[in-house]
């Protein structure tokens, strides 16, 4: 039964991928390419590219993509359901514990140590993306700098901090300006694979 095996496969992805996006990729690969042969390795690589280029978590994107290709819309639905079901239970339980014992001294202290760590994690994620924008993920050198990307970033950062512009508006403007600027300065335009 194809629906059931799609569901089970993505249930495992949802249950064992801790730490988000990139942690899920090897798990999805082993289920989808290795165990079941639903996608070839090059199709899987395309899927990862698309998942990164489009909104949404990689696990949900993969579940929809694989489900659709294997068993149409119902396939997409069962695969996605499988991948979010473990979260629903585990996260609800944690939420319950958090709100019940939040006022406890020890938990207060644990949470107050976690907060600076979380800020650091977010900072690291932001700087990694900035690295992709400014140097295409390569070592930061002057000649490798993508000045179009840097200018877009600097402009966006400025209007966000100084004028508190709506972040989604800022992002959409960056997309539109990106298209115009990369067409004007094709030297900085992103290269497209496959």
């Amino acid at each position: 039964m194809i629906y059931f095996s799609l569901f089970l496969s993505f249930l495992q992805v949802g249950m064992f991928s801790i730490g988000g996006g990139y942690a899920a990729i090897p798990l999805i690969q082993s289920q989808v390419v290795g165990l079941h042969g639903w996608l070839s390795l090059s199709e899987f690589t395309d899927l990862v590219t698309i998942a990164e280029m489009t909104p949404g978590p990689i696990a949900v994107n993969s579940a929809t993509f694989v489900g659709t290709r294997i068993a149409g819309l119902p396939g997409a639905l069962v695969a996605t359901l499988g991948c979010i079901l473990p979260s629903c239970f585990i996260v609800s339980l944690l939420a319950y514990i958090y709100y019940k014992y939040k006022e406890l001294g020890a938990l207060q202290s644990v949470l107050s140590s976690l907060r600076p760590a979380v800020v650091a994690l977010i900072a690291s994620a932001g700087l990694s993306i900035l690295g992709l924008v400014a140097f295409s993920g390569a070592a930061p050198t002057f000649s490798a700098t993508n000045w179009v990307g840097v200018c877009l970033f600097a402009g966006a950062f400025f209007v966000l901090r100084k004028f508190k512009w709506n972040p989604i508006l800022v992002m959409s403007l960056c997309g539109a300006l990106g298209l115009v600027l990369f067409l004007l300065f094709p030297g900085f335009a992103p290269t497209v694979g496959g």
């Binding site: 932001g126 335009a189 992103p190």
Partner: protein, 194 residues
């Protein structure tokens, strides 16, 4: 666990939650931390449903649970704002946009992945995403500096170095920060007794 949400009726609250998540999820490219920064702007700064400390706690919970961070964060915010119904509404709002987009793309993915204009727009949006994340980091990091706790500043610096320069698994970082908080609680308790 629900608090006053500006006298909105339950239906109005759920509707607002659903459309907020739908809107955020549609425009959230990249990993889980990206969606959390957008959620912070929406639910903390704009709607004032959640306070700043709490969003960091929820981030730590979302990060340490299995599954996609975006879905986990939606579950937590949903519970927090409107209980079980809130959780369901927030999940559906979060997964609907990526599911729709991937469902469509799965039919002509090769053309999409190799289109240079699509790549230009996405690269521009990437610059915007980096700016949005780092803007939120400045606000949250500033708060940690204001606490004037040397321990918390050290946690922030160490966590950043560990993840950014040494690629340490974020789970270990969260565990280490939590442990530090626990030890601090025990030490303070002992001091009180003496």
């Amino acid at each position: 666990m629900q608090k006053d949400t500006h006298g909105l009726s339950k239906a109005a609250l759920l509707r607002s939650l659903f459309f907020s998540m739908l809107y955020i999820s549609t425009f959230t490219f990249g990993g889980g931390f990206v969606i959390i920064t957008f959620m912070k702007r929406k639910f903390v700064d704009e709607l004032h449903w959640i306070d700043e400390d709490e969003i960091l706690d929820l981030t730590a919970l979302a990060q340490s649970s299995p599954g996609a961070i975006a879905v986990n964060a939606a579950i937590l915010v949903g519970w927090r704002v409107a209980g079980f119904a809130g959780m369901l509404v927030a999940i559906v709002g979060t997964i609907l946009p990526p599911m729709t987009i991937l469902y469509i793309i799965s039919f002509f993915y090769a053309a999409f992945a190799s289109n240079p204009y699509v790549a230009m727009v996405l690269k521009g949006m990437q610059a915007g995403v980096a700016a949005v994340i780092l803007d939120v980091v400045f606000s949250l990091g500033g708060k940690v500096f204001k606490e004037k706790s040397i321990l918390n500043l050290a946690i922030m610096a160490l966590a950043f170095c560990a993840v950014f320069f040494f690629n340490v698994n974020v789970i270990y970082i969260i565990l280490a920060a939590a442990l530090t908080g626990l030890v601090r609680a025990l030490v303070l308790q002992r001091r009180k007794k003496l």
